[in-house]
């Protein structure tokens, strides 16, 4: 955020101007006298937040902005100012500790950032000054400098590519450090630039810096002597971004356009908005309760104090006179300071240490995800990645899973399956194909052994070979083998039949579909050899090389859902090839051709293949000239370039003729079906949100088991809406009503929560909606309708086992997530995806998971957690999520509990000391209780506890739903813990109180004083609280043993030590030998043992009564489930026995008069 504001400040002077003008190489000849060169910021990167000077104030300010820290600061200040019972040290020390640790951590991080900044800023670069290569430090680069970059170097600022050593005026870069995409991207030099940059006289006009990595608009004016200035358009393909690395190219020269904090990389440094977990919200709610308890305690004490003092002789007996100052103080001021003093005395009820422990737990706990070897994927050599540790426990709370299809459910590893040319189906039969590579298989239009004409076949294959943006990656000397391995997208071809064995080749493309298509065409005899200086070379079936001039590429974009190329063949023919989704191609071709192909396309789609249609068009010279002019003009436009281009594209891509269609298979991810099944059994609702076609998506849903054969599909798509003659709006109303009746009203009420072992009689529903229908539901014309549609839609969806949303735009995905997120009960949502189009929903959902897939790294970058494969989601949620939730929920409850029973005796003591705010415990105990004596066991517990073993959690997915809806932090349980804390506090205090009715507790008749009283209570407290945790621990590793027994031993050791010395510089030696004397009294021993046992008794009792969950009982339960399932099979329709397997309750009961219920 700091960087953002910094940027804003720096941008200010330019804000009035929309464009910036840059003089390449600072050619002054162009500058007239009056012109003042605009000031741009230097190339220094500042990612650090602090300097040496502002670190302390700024960091402290930021830390105290947090409510908890601020609260403790206030308490501390009250202690300093007002005469309070405890010294400021008791709250100052922990606060100081927390603040210092945080400050050190942040200071260290900032130092690392400073170091990184320095490394970047002092990096040596070569700048061309008047044609001379001059070494410079990176931070001294100015806008307009011509910078030279060598291979494998990163660009020091955003550059416009002027010159490349490659013959085709291109260069390759990887943007791995920017968006994580490791594939090589091609960038082009500005056309028509003279080789000698020294004599280049040009200006660049371009837009002001903006963070979008993929957008850039600019114009270059080249001034040549005695010529009109030439104008060249500049786009993102000319812009080399800071942070990207030059590959495959020896050297380039570029002119700096954006520097320092104005580079796109710097502009993209933005903190993601913080997501807060449900547990955190519970903590805040509980805190509020405890704050109320604190306030009411202080209020009660203050009131009683003044009631008590009003009796004569109580306020100021002769033995205990007030000082003059106290006497002079105003009564109301005194009341107020008394109130504050009580607040201070009881403030330990809200422990500063809880925040520290919670954050340590989250921080350390998240390591277990990165360490998990099950998340390691040998293919990409990476494990899981944790981007935020704040949401660990949220993984155990997920109710809705929104998953992307391509790359998430499916592998995004495309394989060419079949094609259809002119209505005839061709299927490749592996390597044993005939020489021509084709064989016709039976399709819906079964014309046995019939083929399309050879001409059509070849046209189709040429189209496949030409209509793409694939590059051939040569493996030459300079190209190391490692580079080849780096290519995630690259599909190396190892079919020696088609390739000369000595020459290894790979294809590089932004979309794996394209590679699959090119590879498919290759199988049938047409090999794409590559693109050299705008000429595409194709090796045809006759092993002849055909040459095509690439005139224009009409790029793919998700809105048009198609792409085209315009080429000139060797014979001078102008051809436009277009490929795209059926829906975007069919309206643009002659209708009589459509029907023949549509059948194939639809059949392929239902089989789960990705289909693309291929069309072509011959362009006459005039047509081409018109298109060419239009395209060039649109490309040069500075404003609204996108829209203008789109218009020209649409104009050009009309009146084509359809040649055929392709089917590419996208295989399911490993264990996709098992994972989905596990998620559903865990009580999560899985929604598939995809941009893909309905048929394809539906088949994927069937394939991964989200839809079963018996699932009744409720479809709300354009197709069902266009049924009949009526308006869509009416039809929508009718369908929604009907589905609602079927899925919601007629369905038996589904019991919320509990185990989902059976849904015997329930009919499964699946819901399908497409983007267009969704936008109708969400943006209905009338406001009232919209609300009701939305509600209906949500209700239907919530009663369906699976929901499929197809044809979704990225923003719509986020809309759906948002809608579910804000629906009744605000369920916890999880989004999982791998592509840039999933980023919006990943950011929107409570938990965003990125898959380290093939579509770049944007999803991973924006996610909270990243995993290599979909199958890892199962363990992440069922095991890690469950455990994290259990651990932190217990941690939170335990913390409140232990502080309640810590402070309650202190509160009760006020009734016996004249409400004088006399602390029961010594200051050292007050301070150390949360820091040392009781902090480590709960931390160890919250990191290591495995109430149910990981294997069992994964095996029995239903266990996940036990924690649903924040089950462990419900008010009921909170009350239980609070009650327990209160009970313990009462036991501690009154147990010792009755013992002290005769304070002569030693066998030599000597008596104990108030500090002995406090020490006995405190000893009971520390032991009880620790042993209570020990009782809750179900997974005793050596660490637990060490920490639990170690803490107790430390307490004893510390008490001896603290009481064993006359402490110099201490005003009072209150605890001198108090602990040792206590231990010399048999009565004290006996009362300590008694009270500990009495406090733990209800716990032990509950543990016995509660159905225990050890390995033994697990087996028993499994046996029951087994018995139960056999019942289901035998008495499916006439249930006579019922088993209620109650996981949370006392018993496993069987009764014969109940109907099946789970």
């Amino acid at each position: 955020s700091t960087i953002r504001t910094l940027n804003k400040k720096k941008e200010d002077p330019h804000e009035r101007v929309d464009n910036r003008t840059i003089y390449i190489g600072h050619q002054s000849s162009l500058v007239n006298e009056d012109f003042i060169p605009p000031k741009f910021c230097d190339n220094r990167i500042v990612s650090s937040k602090y300097t040496v000077w502002n670190f302390l104030p700024k960091n402290l300010f930021e830390q105290f902005r947090r409510i908890a820290n601020f609260y403790f600061l206030i308490i501390f200040l009250v202690q300093v100012i007002v005469d309070t019972p405890t010294s400021p040290v008791t709250s100052g020390l922990p606060l100081f500790f927390v603040i210092t640790v945080t400050a050190i951590k942040q200071g260290y991080e900032d130092w690392l950032r400073h170091k990184a900044d320095r490394e970047v800023n002092k990096y040596q670069v070569t700048v061309l000054e008047n044609g001379q290569e001059t070494p410079k430090e990176s931070e001294n680069i100015k806008v307009g400098d011509i910078v030279q970059v060598k291979e494998n170097e990163t660009f020091p600022c955003d550059l416009i590519l002027l010159q490349s050593t490659r013959d085709d005026d291109t260069c390759f870069v990887t943007t791995a450090s920017l968006d994580g995409e490791s594939n090589h991207k091609t960038h082009y030099t500005v056309p028509d630039i003279e080789r000698d940059l020294k004599s280049l006289n040009a200006t660049i006009e371009c837009e002001q810096p903006q963070p979008d990595l993929y957008k850039f608009n600019g114009r270059m004016h080249i001034y040549k002597t005695n010529q009109d200035p030439a104008v060249r358009s500049l786009g993102p393909e000319n812009l080399l971004l800071k942070g990207a690395t030059l590959k495959n190219t020896q050297k380039i020269c570029g002119v700096a356009v954006y520097t320092g904090m104005e580079t796109k990389m710097a502009l993209n440094y933005q903190g993601k908005s913080q997501k807060r977990s449900a547990v955190e919200k519970s903590i805040n709610a509980f805190l509020l309760v405890y704050l109320c308890i604190l306030l009411s305690k202080a209020l009660v004490c203050t009131t009683l104090k003044y009631v008590w003092q009003s009796k004569p002789g109580q306020d100021e007996p002769w033995y205990n006179k007030k000082t003059q100052k106290e006497k002079d103080t105003n009564l109301y001021l005194k009341m107020f300071t008394d109130f504050l003093s009580f607040m201070v005395l009881f403030n330990f009820i809200i422990p500063v240490s809880m925040y520290v422990t919670v954050e340590m737990q989250k921080f350390l706990g998240s390591f277990f995800i990165t360490w998990d070897k099950d998340f390691f994927d040998p293919e990409i050599q990476e494990g899981a990645l944790v981007n935020t540790s704040d949401l660990n426990e949220e993984l155990g709370q997920v109710e809705y899973v929104f998953t992307d299809k391509t790359g998430t459910l499916t592998q995004n590893n495309m394989e060419f399956i079949e094609c259809c040319i002119d209505g005839f189906q061709y299927k490749h039969r592996g390597a044993s194909s005939e020489l021509d590579g084709f064989c016709v298989t039976d399709g819906p239009v079964n014309k046995l052994q019939q083929k399309a004409g050879r001409e059509k076949e070849e046209l189709f294959l040429r189209a496949l070979c030409l209509c793409h943006t694939v590059q051939v990656k040569e493996s030459t000397e300079q190209d190391q083998r490692e580079d080849n391995l780096d290519q995630v997208d690259g599909l190396r071809i190892d079919e020696n039949v088609l390739q000369p064995p000595q020459k290894e080749r790979g294809f590089i493309a932004s979309s794996p579909d394209e590679i699959a298509l090119v590879k498919g065409a290759m199988r049938y005899g047409f090999t794409f050899l590559g693109l050299e200086s705008k000429t595409m070379k194709i090796l045809n079936r006759n092993k002849d090389v055909e040459m095509y001039d690439l005139l224009h590429v009409l790029n793919f974009d998700p809105v048009r859902r198609r792409m085209s190329v315009i080429v000139r063949s060797g014979s001078g023919e102008m051809l436009l090839f277009c490929k795209g989704a059926d829906s975007s191609i069919f309206p643009r071709v002659r209708q009589e051709e459509v029907e023949r192909i549509r059948l194939h396309v639809e059949r392929n789609a239902t089989e789960g293949y990705r289909t693309l249609c291929v069309a072509y068009k011959r362009l006459s010279e005039e047509e081409y000239a018109q298109a060419d002019a239009g395209l060039r003009e649109a490309r040069l436009a500075l404003q609204d370039r996108e829209e203008k281009l789109l218009a020209v594209y649409n104009q050009v891509e009309t009146g084509m003729s359809l040649i055929g269609a392709t089917a590419v298979e996208d295989r399911l991810q490993e264990e996709a079906a098992e994972t989905m099944e596990a998620l559903q059994r865990a009580g999560m609702k899985v929604w598939v949100l995809t941009g893909d076609k309905m048929e394809t998506a539906k088949s994927t849903c069937y394939a991964c088991g989200l839809f079963q054969r018996k699932t009744e599909l409720l479809e709300l798509t354009v197709r069902t809406l266009e049924d009949g003659e009526r308006k869509r709006e009416e039809r929508l109303h009718e369908l929604l009503g009907e589905y609602h009746k079927r899925a919601v009203q007629d369905a038996p009420p589904v019991k919320a929560g509990g185990t989902r072992v059976c849904f015997a009689s329930n009919q499964d529903y699946g819901f399908i909606i497409d983007g267009a229908s969704l936008s109708m539901v969400l943006n209905s014309s009338s406001e009232s309708n919209m609300r009701s549609y939305k509600d209906l839609f949500l209700q239907i969806c919530q009663n369906c086992t699976a929901v499929l949303c197809c044809r979704m735009a990225p923003l719509q995905k986020a809309q759906i997530v948002k809608m579910v997120k804000s629906s009744k009960g605000s369920p916890i949502t999880l989004s999982i995806g791998d592509g840039a189009n999933d980023v919006s929903m990943i950011l929107e959902a409570h938990v965003g998971i990125g898959i380290k897939g093939k579509e770049g790294r944007q999803a991973v970058r924006n996610s909270d957690y990243a995993i290599p494969k979909l199958k890892h989601l199962k363990k992440l949620l069922l095991a890690h999520g469950h455990l994290y939730y259990h651990r932190i929920a217990h941690l939170v409850q335990y913390f409140f509990y232990k502080n309640l029973c810590f402070i309650l005796p202190q509160f009760l003591y006020q009734f016996f000391c004249g409400y004088s705010q006399q602390p029961l415990y010594d200051a050292a105990y007050l301070t150390m209780y949360n820091i040392c004596f009781t902090s480590m066991p709960i931390l160890a517990y919250s990191l290591l506890e495995q109430r149910i073993s990981i294997e069992d959690l994964i095996e029995d997915a239903a266990l996940y739903s036990e924690n649903a809806k924040n089950a462990m932090l419900r008010w009921g349980l909170f009350l239980y813990w609070t009650g327990l804390g209160a009970f313990h506090g009462l036991v501690f205090f009154f147990g010792v109180r009755f013992l002290f009715s005769n304070p002569a507790l030693q066998d030599n008749g000597q008596v104990f004083g108030n500090w002995s009283y406090g020490t006995i209570v405190f000893t009971v407290l520390v032991f009880t609280v620790t042993l209570k945790l020990a009782l809750d621990t179900r997974h005793w590793t050596w660490i637990n043993h060490f920490v639990i027994w170690g803490s107790l031993a430390f307490y004893v050791f510390f008490s001896f030590f603290w009481g064993g010395i006359i402490w110099p510089f201490m005003k009072q030696q209150r605890l001198y030998f108090v602990f040792a004397n206590m231990l010399s009294s048999v009565s004290a021993w006996l009362v300590i043992i008694l009270l500990i046992l009495l406090s733990l008794l209800p716990e032990i009792l509950l543990v016995v009564l509660r159905n225990p969950r050890g390995p033994y009982t697990r087996k028993v339960q499994q046996r029951y489930t087994h018995v139960y399932t056999s019942h289901v099979t035998t008495h499916a329709r006439t249930p006579t026995h019922t088993l209620c397997i109650c996981f949370n309750d006392v018993s496993v009961c069987f009764s014969r008069d109940l109907v099946f219920a789970c």
């Binding site: 070897k373 494990g383 008596v1007 006359i1062």
Partner: protein
């Protein structure tokens, strides 16, 4: 280089574990894979039931032992506040004045109906006396009491308003010291033959050893105390300066045991403090035989103003300390509850188990 996100002073971790570097396979250690060998106790009825019985079986005898011990402790209390007109100390309590030079004395007769065999401990008890009031508890200077010369001359601020008197530092300073219990209690045995025998009272051994020998020190050693306390003044309510508390130099000044006992503030507003010990002479004669006694009181300590009470307690002591039936009763109760719960649980367990068997 990516800045870690930090919002609202909230520590958030970006890329915990430094992310996973490509090619770095997570180590397959038991700890990192959360597979540390662990003991997984299963608390079932089967394991806990015996524990209940064992607790019951241990606690009940202990409780009985404690109770019997407590019952065997002999204790006698006599209130000498003088609230009633009939009380011998009524006059003293009424005519109290700090300035009176002549101490008021009263004597209370009492009868012990059983002999006290072992050492007898004599306590004085105060009621409604808030020694645990915060203003009171902190009103002391431990450094002064430890013999520190600087603190002697310049008492801590905490002692206010009992730190300075007529521009001289008070030694010992503070409200606690100032309000030291100063009644003199003497015990006489009214021999059946008519003579009145004074019972010898030991004034040492009543304070914690560590207090007497470490925590409390006279400034400049125990010799020549008046010189050591030169330049200080006595607490306002005291009749004598601190160096005149006792004639024995080992029990004078700050290390006077009566003083040390008083300085250990009581936990509750009703408390007792050890005053004297009546040592057992020989095994043949009880320390305090059955019979009539007289308690001679020099009544210096006013408690009527705050509705307080004063009493004298004679008590024998056992290994568990003074008489207190609470522990015994508590142990017996908890033990029996455990035992009962054990029985109830056993019954439930039996039924519950058999039902399970039927079902399976």
């Amino acid at each position: 280089m990516m800045p870690t996100s930090y919002e609202d002073g909230h520590i958030s971790v970006s890329g915990a574990g430094g992310g996973s570097m490509p090619g770095k396979k997570p180590e397959n250690t038991a700890f990192k894979q959360q597979r540390l060998p662990a003991w997984q106790p299963v608390l079932t009825a089967g394991t806990v039931l015996p524990a209940f019985f064992i607790i019951g079986l241990i606690f009940i005898p202990i409780g009985i032992g404690l109770y019997v011990t407590s019952m065997n402790i002999k204790e006698f209390q006599i209130d000498y506040t003088g609230v009633d007109m009939s009380s011998p100390c009524y006059n003293c309590s009424q005519n109290f004045s700090w300035n009176s030079s002549r101490p008021c004395a009263c004597s209370l007769p009492f009868y012990l109906d059983q002999p006290y065999d072992s050492n007898v401990f004599m306590y004085y008890g105060l009621s409604n006396f808030y020694q645990n009031h915060r203003r009171y508890v902190k009103s002391r200077d431990d450094s002064q009491l430890n013999g520190n010369q600087e603190s002697l001359k310049d008492p801590s601020k905490e002692c206010e308003p009992y730190a300075w008197s007529s521009s001289k530092p008070i030694a010992p300073c503070g409200a606690i010291a100032n309000s030291m219990f100063n009644d003199t209690l003497e015990l006489f045995y009214n021999d059946p033959n008519g003579s009145k025998v004074q019972i010898p009272l030991t004034a040492t051994g009543i304070a914690w050893w560590t207090d007497k020998h470490v925590k409390f020190r006279n400034p400049g050693g125990n010799e020549n105390l008046p010189a050591a306390f030169q330049g200080t003044t006595k607490p306002v309510n005291w009749h004598w300066p601190v160096y005149e508390l006792d004639s024995d130099p080992e029990n004078n000044g700050f290390i006077n045991e009566d003083f040390i006992v008083w300085m250990r503030t009581a936990a509750l507003p009703t408390f007792r403090k050890l005053y004297r010990i009546i040592q057992r002479k020989n095994n043949m004669v009880p320390t305090l035989p059955r019979g009539n006694y007289t308690l001679e009181v020099v009544y210096n300590y006013p408690v009527r103003s705050f509705d307080g009470r004063k009493r004298v307690i004679l008590s024998t002591i056992s290994w568990m300390g003074g008489k207190n039936p609470f522990l015994g009763i508590a142990y017996i109760t908890v033990g029996s509850v455990c035992f009962l719960l054990g029985v109830v649980l056993l019954i439930i367990h039996h039924k519950y188990g058999s039902r399970n068997n039927i079902a399976t």
